[in-house]
């Protein structure tokens, strides 16, 4: 890692951060993760692969959009609050103008049955994409300290509460979240004390 770290570069200015994150956002349709890794690690060399994975998992755990959180953390690391603002506005401004343009164009033809059909189809596909992302991520539950069975039960319970029963999200997050964190804490401290004893 030391060898890798010596080759690392840094953004020279807040403008460079802004531009880097604008370009990153404009390339990311659906999944920004792959684009972020390619831009930040391989092309700009602002972080190593390992650093990227670590930062990304924290960005994922914190509330809010993952890539926005990553921008906040990275921008904040180099230029403090102003850097975080530069990265986040880079991520949001250009894509916002673009998507709003699309929405207005669509709004003009939204009474047209063909446009309605097309959007219905895109809606079904995007629902499929979200479900597929959930399935992809579920393979990571195998490494969960609580054990695969417990982790699956929690995931299933969250799905039943929010997807099927349509209960408010806060109930699931507070109830199941506290339970999950508690179980994970117990499992992790048990492995830690085992390591100490052996």
């Amino acid at each position: 890692m030391t060898l890798e770290t010596t080759h690392l570069q840094q953004p020279g200015s807040k403008t460079e951060l802004f531009i880097a994150f604008t370009l990153l956002a404009l390339q990311g349709v659906g999944g920004v993760l792959t684009v972020a890794q390619r831009e930040l690690v391989e092309r700009r060399k602002w972080m190593t692969n390992q650093q990227f994975v670590e930062e990304w998992s924290v960005a994922q755990v914190m509330p809010g959009p993952n890539v926005v959180n990553l921008g906040l953390m990275l921008g904040g690391k180099y230029f403090g609050m102003a850097g975080a603002a530069a990265a986040v506005s880079g991520l949001l401004i250009a894509p916002l103008i673009l998507v709003l343009g699309l929405a207005i164009l669509f709004g003009g033809v939204s009474d047209n049955p063909m446009a309605q059909g097309a959007l219905k189809g895109m809606g079904a596909v995007s629902a499929g994409l979200i479900i597929a992302t959930g399935i992809k991520l579920s393979s990571s539950l195998r490494q969960n300290p609580m054990g695969l069975g417990t982790a699956w039960l929690l995931a299933l319970a969250a799905f039943v509460m929010v997807g099927i029963l349509r209960l408010p999200l806060a109930w699931a997050l507070l109830g199941l979240g506290l339970l999950g964190c508690g179980l994970a804490f117990r499992a992790l401290s048990q492995t830690k004390s085992k390591e100490k004893n052996s």
Partner: protein, 200 residues
């Protein structure tokens, strides 16, 4: 498709506080809060039609940038509805912009402040056991909520005899994403084509 509504200043405040609360709850990405937004905006308040809600997500997903922009489109549609639709002129456009400002500030500000402060703190303190417990404990929920989101988006119509084609299409998309490396835009284009041809 005009869905006219009236919003008092109190309603706008209600919208803001609801999104600000959801901001802190949206662990694993803003999209995990979509079922709750649907429940609040479409089912409870009737500020937004089901079609506008789904189209906001579909458009934001097929456009480049973070998926959180679907929230901006939701705000835009609510503002437009309050101003009498796209034909409502300056008033509708300004209310649409106000909607974007309110929903985006609400959904972004609290989580961003929390992330900024907490990651600085975690970096300085590196309390690994509690950080790792939080991460592992939340992981199953993030997955369950993602699948719920897809489910709510699909099941919104609640009519199996009519909707089986939509389910088939979504199932096809799931398989294509998991089994192939086809670009998301092609899947979106295929979905749009099926829909435009009237097959759905």
């Amino acid at each position: 498709m005009i869905h006219a509504i009236t919003l008092t200043p109190y309603d706008w405040l209600d919208l803001f506080t609801h999104f600000a609360l959801l901001s802190l709850l949206s662990v694993g990405g803003t999209i995990t809060a979509a079922p709750e937004m649907h429940r609040f905006l479409v089912d409870e308040k009737h500020w937004l039609s089901d079609a506008s809600f789904s189209s906001s997500i579909a458009l934001a997903q097929s456009s480049p940038g973070p998926n959180v922009l679907f929230v901006a489109l939701i705000g835009w549609h609510i503002g437009l509805n309050a101003g009498g639709g796209l034909g409502g002129g300056i008033l509708a456009w300004s209310l649409g912009m106000l909607g974007i400002l309110i929903t985006m500030t609400g959904i972004m500000l609290p989580s961003s402040v929390l992330t900024y402060v907490a990651t600085k703190w975690a970096h300085d303190n590196r309390n690994f056991l509690s950080v790792r417990s939080f991460k592992s404990g939340m992981a199953p929920l993030v997955i369950g909520l993602l699948v719920s989101t897809g489910w709510v988006l699909l099941g919104a119509h609640n009519n199996i005899t009519q909707d089986w084609r939509l389910w088939l299409l979504a199932g096809g998309a799931v398989i294509m994403i998991l089994r192939t490396s086809v670009h998301i835009l092609w899947l979106m284009a295929a979905g749009a084509a099926f829909g435009a041809l009237g097959w759905l």
